[in-house]
Subunit: 158 residues, 2 copies
Amino acid sequence: MGRLQRELRQNRPFQSTAHEAVVGLIRTADLVRRHMTALVEPHGITLQQFNVLRILRGADTEARDGVPTLEIADRMIEQTPGVTRLLDRLEAKELVRRQRCPKDRRQHLCWITPKGLALLQKLDEATLRSHEDSMKGLKTKDRATFIRLMEAIRAPHQ
Amino acid sequence: MGRLQRELRQNRPFQSTAHEAVVGLIRTADLVRRHMTALVEPHGITLQQFNVLRILRGADTEARDGVPTLEIADRMIEQTPGVTRLLDRLEAKELVRRQRCPKDRRQHLCWITPKGLALLQKLDEATLRSHEDSMKGLKTKDRATFIRLMEAIRAPHQ
DNA sequence: TGTCAATAGTTGATATGTCAAGTATTGGTA
DNA sequence: TACCAATACTTGACATATCAACTATTGACA
């Protein structure tokens, strides 16, 4: 009887290896997600808001143009409808600034504020440690394999 | 430049292999989750409700005792506060039946109804195919490796 | 130049998730 | 046997997610 089966207290084996992989994947991601969430939420932001801030910081260091709303949506780690409201909340907390794009007035460009940058900076070290902690069960070589396998999973889906 | 980095349109490498693994994991799980969600939601249930039904079916085939609410919570693939309301909705749809346990009146025991069983049965084949489709990027041997690596990730966290 | 589909985002309605505080019941202990 | 902490939920209040319908603006084409 496999480890995962025991974890879920099931007494029937998985229907297929694919099934076991899917369940394991969702379960493992949930674990790591909660890990990260526990880190950022005490600072008054959700994991998705944190992700938006990181996208904006990344964009900020290379160009001052601001990122249009839908491009943020596109870059999110997890697909997220409702980026508008995510940004509303970040703007209310003064972590993000928005402005209508003069060249294409349909677009709203977004920037991270100094306050947002400061928050990220405060979290940087802990984030690094959290990633290490999440993956401490894998040695360096296994991590590379793991990353490669996940890329192979995603590849056929666009 | 790695594949994931391109996917997220980043121009800066990941801070560490652990970081890349974490981001890849959450992203891959999100993909597979949406896959499954697209399958079950047209039938009027969420992925978590589907998960509850599968737990109850699994329990049903081996014992007729019914499963207490908190044990369902415990068996969920993803940690879920608010199983009570999940069950409320399932009961409203008559997919689940609940009853106070006579031996310990604090507990509420849950069963899947014939209607719930029928719904699961209708979804069984498509679910199987969905798992295969999600994992089609991995060959059999790689699937086993993948499962093993994820177990190694989870092991140190309890 | 006027029309119109396509793009970029917003908004409203509703479902769902989440946390803290509350109730009922039990089992242990003085 | 009376008390009290622990268990097993439930409920209320609030935040967030999701979908569809809507507005504003642009770019292409007749």
